[in-house]
């Protein structure tokens, strides 16, 4: 079961730099920052400058299909934000996207909440994105779940 996040307890009023990214979620598009002057791409959306060439005035976007591999994760047991009071334990993860690379050829990483419990989640697990409506004006938040096919090398948190 996906953790229940109460989106009404978050305020979706992005600043100018993140506006286009949130608007794209209304059309179910997951965008990643892309430099118009060099090949670089990066996360997060509200970082507007290109670390590869210094361009910051007209950086654009590429769309990701929204699949990737878990690079790291945590299991939150003690909630802080009101929106997540009923969601614990929930699993925020850093995910390497399959289809977006930066100028050095590294997979771009972003963050998302995984649906499953931590008996199934681990580093190297394959995940895929779906959108969930989060605001009355149609903004959506990317949510992530485990893919049907998993690799053999999924690393689970070592006990105890």
């Amino acid at each position: 079961m996906p953790p229940k996040i109460d989106w009404s307890k978050l305020s979706f009023q992005p600043d100018y730099d993140a506006q286009e990214w949130w608007d794209a979620t209304k059309e179910s598009k997951l965008l990643v920052r892309s430099c118009t002057k060099c090949a670089n791409k990066w996360w997060p959306p509200n970082v507007i400058g290109c670390a590869n060439c210094g361009n910051f005035q007209d950086t654009g976007w590429v769309e990701s299909k929204g699949s990737g591999v878990v690079h790291s994760f945590i299991v939150v047991h003690q909630p802080i934000l009101a929106a997540f009071m009923e969601a614990v334990p929930y699993i925020p993860a850093i995910i390497e996207l399959d289809d977006v690379e930066n100028s050095d050829g590294n997979k771009v990483r972003l963050q998302g909440v995984l649906d499953e419990d931590d008996t199934k989640v681990g580093i190297n697990a394959r995940v895929e994105m779906y959108f969930e409506q989060a605001s009355e004006d149609g903004k959506q938040v990317p949510r992530w779940r485990l893919s049907a096919q998993q690799p053999d090398n999924v690393w689970k948190f070592p006990g105890p």
Partner: protein
């Protein structure tokens, strides 16, 4: 050596009690810490002509402190800064003092870290309504806002890459706690921690259990610095500033928004280590006592590795072998620091290092104020046997670091 090496010294340190239940403002806390530090130096309040502090819009500032103490400052500055700000402000003080711009500077941090605004935005009245932000490490829409959550992501990957175990994280908590049991100021004074206590404690955010996390407190701590030639005439042996780094950055912004993809736990100390030791004119082998910002058990590990005390991935076993305890290879975090004394946003570790270098750690020894210690740990002595050179490492995030080398001698 650097142009500022040995030109200035920390001559006064002071703090308040570490409070869990509140009842005092950051003004009240700050005034007490500053007064204590100036008295400790053997100076008068009116000798102070400069004051700086760091805060997160959560404290009274230098001017308010000075006005309440009858000081008229020629220089004051309150910066927005988190962990690693103390060492940065010491570097800033060294420059201003050495240049003759000011004569005696107080640095303080006053915070209601327990009953005011806590790191991550939680307030005493309960969970906060929040603006949904994407990125910059403030990721409300995925429920990642606190340091435990943000640094936990780095720690989990670190454990994966090097096979670091939960017992090794526990070894950090147990080591620092052992030192806190010898520190009368510490929240956990005379209260040791066992491996069973550690393992049975609740999860905060896996990989962090309760005792992987620091103790949030209402507290203020202050330091006093003067130029070297004046330092000799004051109340205690000076702790000379040999060198440091001031909020040095890594080249990888948060979770590698940038071009380079260094590991997400790769600490900025990797970029600062040649600078601090080169400037100070010392090697790691010269250091007798050290402290590494311990917001979590994880953070000292990557700092030790970043500054080159051990190879990458080896700090956990180093702790597990007891090499950081008093009387061992390199005593670390001798006050118990954030994990077991109480969280002060870093500044207490510089105060503790100053006391250690003086040979006047405040412990159960009856004549500690005269620098006479028994070195009997069972009787509550916390003073290190060797204390010529000390090293303090501050942590901002994995991407920001500061450091400071202090010495009993102005030449290292």
């Amino acid at each position: 050596m650097g142009a500022l090496t040995g030109k200035t010294a920390i001559v006064g340190v002071g703090e308040t009690t570490y409070y869990r239940d509140g009842g005092r403002t950051t003004l009240s806390l700050g005034l007490e810490a500053i007064s204590n530090a100036v008295r400790d130096a053997g100076l008068k309040l009116t000798d102070i002509d400069a004051m700086t502090s760091y805060q997160g819009n959560d404290s009274h500032g230098s001017n308010e402190m000075a006005q309440s103490l009858g000081m008229r400052l020629n220089y004051s500055l309150d910066i927005a800064g988190g962990g690693s700000s103390t060492e940065a402000l010491v570097a800033h003080a060294a420059g201003l003092l050495s240049g003759g711009y000011v004569n005696a500077m107080v640095i303080f941090r006053s915070m209601r870290g327990r009953t005011g605004r806590r790191p991550g935005g939680q307030v005493a009245s309960g969970p906060a309504q929040a603006l949904a932000v994407v990125g910059h490490g403030e990721d409300q829409y995925i429920g990642v806002t606190t340091p435990a959550q943000r640094f936990g992501l780095a720690c989990m990957r670190y454990m994966h890459d090097f096979g670091v175990t939960t017992k090794q994280l526990a070894a950090v908590a147990l080591t620092h706690r052992y030192h806190a049991t010898l520190n009368p100021k510490a929240f956990f004074y005379k209260r040791p921690l066992t491996m069973e206590d550690y393992m049975e404690a609740r999860w905060v955010s896996k990989p962090f259990r309760l005792f992987d996390c620091c103790l949030e407190m209402d507290v203020a701590v202050a330091l006093v610095l003067v130029r070297a030639e004046r330092a000799y005439d004051l109340r205690h042996p000076p702790a000379f500033v040999l060198g440091g780094t001031a909020r040095t950055m890594s080249e990888s912004p948060y979770y590698n928004a940038g071009r380079r993809h260094t590991p997400i736990y790769h600490h900025a100390s990797n970029w600062g280590r040649d600078r601090v030791f080169g400037m100070s004119g010392i090697t790691r082998g010269d250091i007798n006592v050290a402290s590494f910002y311990d917001a979590f058990t994880f953070t000292p590990l990557v700092q030790m590795e970043g500054y080159g005390f051990v190879q990458p991935g080896e700090a956990g076993s180093w702790y597990e072998e007891g090499r950081g305890r008093l009387d061992a290879e390199l005593p670390v975090n001798t006050s118990g620091s954030h994990l077991s004394e109480g969280y002060s946003h870093g500044i207490q570790m510089v105060a503790e290092m100053t006391r250690q270098l003086r040979g006047r750690a405040d412990d159960a020894c009856p004549q500690w104020e005269k620098g006479i210690h028994t070195f009997d740990r069972d009787a509550g002595c916390r003073q290190t046997k060797k204390h010529d050179v000390g090293f303090c490492a501050g942590w901002g995030t994995p991407q920001t670091s500061s450091s400071l080398v202090l010495s009993r001698r102005s030449g290292g």
